[in-house]
């Protein structure tokens, strides 16, 4: 299917509105994406026709809800090419997925003096759980430096391994810089040191084909709402041999096999990690989002966003006094920038007045801001429905910012 953005935009009812009296220009897709009508319909259909608790009812309604929920697990498995559907755990978000691994895998396998490696371009959600794990276990956090272009310093990376390195966690793509990291190569190196790898796919999964077996990552985390699905849902993929050996993260209903006051035995994968009633509607909505992306094709989405990225990079670079933060060779459709003498917060407010939604601030990546010596940046991030007019509007908006501050 060709990427006809004018047609695709019609699938997203929210995009048709105005903001501050101007047509909405939504360029904050790294924060969250808008939802196509099919996802909204799936949520409504579930609550109108299929709502029942899953995995327990003997009645038809519950069987139907269970089947729809479990069908999405298989869909996710196929979409990211996991070996087995048991390796797909539904959680609240990418953040919870990382916390699950830190708490369950981490507290079982990480000891005092061990080293956990992350990178200097991580989102806070891929920093803080590891810091807490270090505090709890006495392990040490090691940080892979990044270059002035915002790329992983691969020489420094290789030198950072020691016999104490026990886990590596890094972003498949950076939310603040856009950098797509050479994940496969980095994972190969980590595995040569027998170090398992968690890949944070929150910013990569919506923008490119992901194949966890090809990457050979041990864990992959992703978020539904950044990929055109509902909020409050994420996925943890883990290799079954690792997940099987890990203790439960949360406990309660559904995650048990049998309970007595003397002894409780746990359910098998994936249910061991899905305590309590899950976000059934969210999972079903996410299924609709995956079908939607599949229909367009991830290669096609990636191609479209790459075209936007190169157009936007060229146009923004031509604006005097504008500095792009993050100039890696491989990027997703994210452009972080600063304008000399004008604070990003002021830029955000003036763009908002023209109906343009961008993110301003530290993007939950304060260490990245420190690395580039800026208090904050403006970030425009693209999704499958953005077009050249959105970028033209952004550039026009920035000219208005400069006029106001002249």
């Amino acid at each position: 299917m060709n990427h006809n953005v004018d047609v695709l935009r019609k699938d997203f009812p929210l995009l048709a509105q105005t903001a501050r009296g101007k047509p909405l220009v939504y360029l904050d897709n790294s924060a969250t994406s808008q939802k196509p009508q099919c996802v909204i319909d799936a949520l409504q259909h579930y609550y109108s026709h299929d709502n029942a608790n899953i995995h327990r009812g003997v009645y038809e309604l519950s069987e139907r809800a269970t089947k729809e929920y479990e069908d999405v697990r298989v869909l996710v498995q196929q979409f990211i090419n996991a070996k087995s559907a048991d390796e797909i755990i539904f959680v609240r978000g990418a953040t919870e997925a990382i916390n699950l691994v830190a708490a369950s895998y981490g507290r079982t396998n990480i000891k005092a003096q061990d080293e956990i490696m992350i990178s200097a371009m991580e989102h806070h959600s891929n920093i803080v759980p590891w810091q807490i794990l270090c505090e709890q276990t006495g392990a040490v956090l090691k940080v892979i430096p990044i270059t002035d272009e915002g790329e992983m310093d691969l020489d420094a990376y290789q030198k950072l391994f020691s016999s104490r390195t026990k886990l590596l966690a890094f972003a498949h793509a950076s939310n603040a810089l856009g950098t797509i990291n050479p994940a496969k190569e980095m994972i190969r190196i980590a595995h040569s040191h027998n170090v398992p790898v968690l890949l944070d796919g929150a910013q990569a999964f919506p923008h490119m084909p992901v194949d966890v077996q090809d990457l050979e990552c041990d864990f992959y985390v992703l978020s539904s709402h950044k990929a055109y699905g509902p909020t409050g849902l994420g996925v943890l993929y883990g290799k079954s041999e690792l997940l099987n050996a890990m203790p439960p993260y949360q406990s309660g209903g559904d995650m048990i096999e049998s309970v007595s006051f003397e002894k409780t035995t746990y359910n098998k994968l994936p249910y061991k990690f899905e305590a309590g009633t899950p976000h059934i509607a969210g999972v079903i909505g996410f299924g609709a989002a995956i079908h939607y992306m599949q229909k367009i094709g991830m290669q096609q989405i990636a191609l479209h966003e790459q075209e936007l990225l190169s157009y936007a990079t060229k146009k923004l670079s031509a604006i005097p006094d504008l500095r792009i933060i993050g100039t890696a060779k491989n990027k997703v459709g994210v452009i972080s920038f600063v304008l000399k003498g004008i604070h990003p917060h002021d830029i955000g407010t003036i763009l908002d007045d023209q109906g343009i939604a961008v993110r301003v601030g530290h993007h939950c990546a304060m260490p990245v801001m420190q690395r580039f010596n800026v208090p904050a940046t403006v970030r425009a991030s693209f999704g499958l429905y953005n077009n050249v007019s959105d970028i033209d509007a952004l550039c026009e908006g920035l000219n208005e910012v400069k006029r106001l501050f002249a």
Partner: protein, 149 residues
């Protein structure tokens, strides 16, 4: 005048670019750092107080046009004011930037009234109020850094 022009009036752009009373105060009797983690704004307020009167007030740091202009105008207005007057101006200013235009308040606040437009932008109220909360904490000799979050 559009809401945006109300917000970014010439006086605000001017004070944002060329803040008055900018720098440290070696003989300060009170000083305090304020931080807005949302946007990274960081201001330190220095006050030299004698016999319950603000003799001199300065600030330094970095931030958006709104937070810097608000701090700059604050230092101009509060010079020579008593503690009681500072508190009254704080209350008036707080009400103006959270609730919006009010003829009585704007009259009392003089040039500070230029920040009334902030009330139309809820996400920016914290920018306008950062210096003021920091000042209040400085004069109360509170420990730690003031945060807007």
């Amino acid at each position: 005048m559009s809401a945006l022009r109300q917000l970014y009036q010439e006086m605000i752009i001017d004070h944002g670019k060329r803040p008055r009373n900018f720098g440290t105060l070696p003989d300060a009797t009170h000083h305090k750092e304020g931080f807005n983690p949302l946007c990274g704004d960081r201001l330190t307020i220095y006050v030299s107080e004698k016999n319950n009167v603000v003799e001199k007030i300065c600030f330094e740091g970095s931030g958006c046009a709104i937070s810097v202009a608000s701090a700059s105008l604050m230092t101009e207005v509060l010079q020579g004011k008593t503690r009681a007057e500072v508190e009254a101006i704080f209350d008036d200013f707080h009400e103006l930037v959270t609730k919006g235009h009010n003829v009585v308040l704007e009259d009392r606040l003089g040039k500070l009234a230029v920040l009334a437009g902030v009330a139309e932008f809820p996400a920016r109220v914290k920018c306008a109020i950062l210096a003021w909360h920091t000042l209040k904490a400085a004069m109360a000799d509170d420990a730690g850094t003031v945060s807007t979050e």
